[in-house]
Symmetry: C2
Subunit: 291 residues, 2 copies
Amino acid sequence: MRIGFIGIGLMGLPLCRRLLAAGHPLAVWNRSPEKCRPLAELGAAVATSPAALAAGVDLLLLCVSDTAAVEAVVFGTDGIAAGAHAGLLVIDHSSIAPAATRTLAARLAATGVRWLDAPVSGGVIGAENGTLVIMAGGSVADVEQARPVLMSYAQRLTRMGEVGAGQVTKVCNQLIVAANSLLIAETVALAEHAGVDARLLAPALAGGFADSLPFQILAPRMAERRFEPVQWKVQTLLKDLGNALTLASETGSSVPLASQAEALMRRHADSGQAAADLSSIIALHSQGAPD
Amino acid sequence: MRIGFIGIGLMGLPLCRRLLAAGHPLAVWNRSPEKCRPLAELGAAVATSPAALAAGVDLLLLCVSDTAAVEAVVFGTDGIAAGAHAGLLVIDHSSIAPAATRTLAARLAATGVRWLDAPVSGGVIGAENGTLVIMAGGSVADVEQARPVLMSYAQRLTRMGEVGAGQVTKVCNQLIVAANSLLIAETVALAEHAGVDARLLAPALAGGFADSLPFQILAPRMAERRFEPVQWKVQTLLKDLGNALTLASETGSSVPLASQAEALMRRHADSGQAAADLSSIIALHSQGAPD
């Protein structure tokens, strides 16, 4: 099976490395071609356009930044649609809007091209270690065709439903991550105001009912006001909460806490912290801080 | 060291069993004396009052339901204060208000009795398995005197600061648990409205950034509308959120998400669900459910 990959960024690069290490023949394309060089040195072919890449592979993986970038690479000049052949399976690892995913998939389906939305969770570390969690939307047959390839870098691949269901699940995941990070900030500030050394919270409560990966990562950084290096950008989580509100609005779902979380996150981003690390949201509660 | 225990309930019973199994000599008291019988059969002495118990031990453990119950057992008729001797160390495993804790401790300190607030997290299972997490407030010396005894049923005992700091930490823990449970409900409902089988969420996202023990416990029960048996009562979590708001108000801390979470939890409790399992809060979002 010939495999193509579009989007050699922070995530794409380690994913491609793992595909090559697993012995998959690989061709790649990236908007800035120099990003393909380390993969070419490892034996990957470098395509001249998404259209040329789509013409020569059976399975085409995407990992780009947002909905607009996916649309450009699929339907732009020399895009995937221009070179696609009936039978091609496109697998999108990007995190984009579920509604846009369904529209893209429907347009491609008219030409016999199949679509699997397969957003990932686990970050660059998970990509490097092959421990990503993948939530997929598409037919059972398409998920099973993709599985041996995707398991090169995932610990788990779950089919959540038809096309779009993977992106819905990613939106759900990010709703909890983003809103919980604001809860963690409230908690760290409350502990400080009540005279407890908040640096002790994460080790003291590890493994308990309040614990989570964000709690272990963010609570110590918040307590120490240690906002460098940037791991998660405020604007990324703000975008995620926006996607959750849009999905809720489209489906008639009530998300009162996520709505308030979005307003709080937006207030923080608008105060000049959009590109700062998520841990900086502790500043929302620092007005009345002791000392 | 002679050890006493007051409050032989769901938590107290397994804690006493573990103390006896570890070879500690133990005397117990409970408001309903028949609850002491299984421990008497294992060799525990049964005291006739909290005062009598306090008179005969070096270290007195409490595990009762709320602030009023602690006050009654300490300062009520034949209470601990009536029998206490200088040098007694009282260790309170109950989850009560930090301010009340400091007041109780100060009153007892006048007679040479020391106080350690030591609320626990981990539930009945954690008590039975000896895997509780304990967050303590008191002097370093008192924490270290208690440590060998408390580690009979804990995996971790962390000193969070002076008297009251353990209860502050428990309030922080519960703020996250209660508000996160409402986020989980929003997420389960959003997934359902968007056409995803929400029963798949917990296994699909296990180990990721959105994951937590409440997510694994509550999301499947919410998705299946399976509210029996009752594990966590709505009114307990509502009380916890109330304690968080009180502490925030006392300390001038802003907790906007916890405030909204309290209002949502109260609305659900007031709809006749106060004694129901926490998973029933999915009903807040079920008006538009596709079913």
